[in-house]
Amino acid sequence: MKKTLRQMRPVYVVGIGLHKYQRLSETPYVTLGLTAVREAIADAGIEWRNVDSAYTGTALIGMAASRPMLRHLGATGIAMAQVENASASGSTAFRQACLDVASGISDVSLAIGVDKPGPVASAPAKTNIRDLVGRRIVPFTHFALLANEYMNRYGVTAEQVAAVAVKNNRNGANNPYAQRQKAVTLAEVMDGPPISGSLTRLQCCPVGEGAAAVIVASDDAIDKLKINRSRAIQTIASVSRSERVYRGAKNHDAELTRETVAQAYEEAAIAPKDLDLIELHDAFTIEELLYVEAMGLCGEGEGAKMIASGAVDIGGKCAISASGGLLAMGHPIGPTGAGQVAEIARQLRGEAGVRQQPNARIGMAHMVGVGAVCVVHILQKRS
């Protein structure tokens, strides 16, 4: 019989660590990754030899990234593998680490997302199925097309879509790990270089380098390693889905998120109103509007109004992208999904400082990857 994550043994986030997301530099990926892992190990208060398995979320570095990096923590002989799932690589590495512990195969597992920008060997380009546009429609134009359709359908203005960047850059300004740490005005967003359709530069996420590490552990390990239980955050749902053929649907991206998130709510036995914060795949401003609706936080066409109301600000009903999101914290690909989990764990512990969402108890991490895939996790602070 199939089981959900919650029907297996409990799994907790016990350690988080990051290397700042930044523009491409000379820093080797090894340094990026080790910085994040060492911070996560210290945060958990454990030693590297306590870790039973490691999953490296990476899409751009190339084959066999894990051991050349992790051996410098001491080559303990543990299981390790790379996880590539496009933009959801880090999310999927985290899911694998959770499944490892929940199943009982490991007591402690590491998810480490690490990447540096570089040439991409894209499999979809090798299918021999050609279309009429090729690289003329890349992700920013895909979402510019969705923005155009959305604005027309609901009478939403380009300024209302751009307001997402103002909110998320305000949050990112207070995140020392963010690539963009500067609050921006709506005029600055609107007047920036046009990219595609209504999307301007600040409405598109920066893709740089960085790393994010998350250590998960079982109850057994928490006891045995004397990990501080009051800082442990439980993963109560892990859902990974891929796009189906949504005949007649106006927006396939929204449909994929809708059904993935619905399954996560069911597994976690929660409703949208129970969420205190969400780290959402806001690679482009329009996505936040599409997904808050698909997630059931508001009705169809009401996303812009919801964002303007302050309900998704830090301090509002449900803070969205308190980290700054992909738009401000950045989207280094492999790290992004793991970094979302790190932010949610930090928030649920009450350790997010000036970015703290008050009384946060339940958070959701949501990533979408080219292909298309969607990976969602729900985390909860234990009472």
């Binding site: 299918t127 199925i129 050609r130 279309d131 009429l132 546009v133 090729g134 690289r135 003329r136 429609i137 920013f140 134009t141 510019a144 097309l145 969705l146 923005a147 155009n148 359709e149 027309n152 270089p193 046009p194 990219i195 595609s196 359709g197 209504s198 053929v245 005949r247």
Partner: protein, 140 residues
């Protein structure tokens, strides 16, 4: 002037004096109509390649969204150019370059038809033509 060579000639046919047609596909098992064509298996029902057959799609439909692209580093077209999603009358949604370089005068719901437009030059300097969609001015 050298003879025009079509970009992606596998994807369409030029009907003399008429609107170019698109080479799509159809699943005999479930009825799914798709573009671009492929013969690996049906995305909708999983039917084997034997169930997939070519289907000529009329190059006519309605514009469901559009965007003017300002950032593009590839060859074959200068920025700005405009792309759109056209829902063909036979069902599939097709993404294509539009005849208009900018979106002025375009609106969602516009009737569109396929055209063969100049598409730059190939490496040997031959003129290229490519399939684009244009606003149908007189056939409302």
């Amino acid at each position: 002037m050298s003879e025009a060579v079509a970009v992606n000639p596998d994807l369409y046919d030029n009907s003399p004096g008429g609107v170019p047609t698109l080479r799509g596909g159809h699943c005999r098992a479930c009825g799914y109509i798709f573009f671009p064509p492929q013969s690996y298996g049906c995305e909708s029902c999983g039917a084997a390649p034997e169930q997939l057959e070519p289907m000529v799609l009329e190059g006519k439909g309605a514009l469901s969204s559009f965007a003017t692209v300002h950032l593009y580093q590839g060859k074959g077209i200068e920025t700005p150019f405009t792309v759109g999603v056209i829902v063909l009358d036979q069902g599939p949604a097709v993404r294509a370059t539009l005849a208009q370089p900018t979106d002025s005068g375009l609106k969602i719901g516009d009737r569109m038809h396929a055209i063969l437009a100049p598409g730059g030059k190939d490496e040997s300097g031959n003129d290229l033509v490519e399939l684009r969609f244009d606003k149908m001015e007189s056939h409302r």
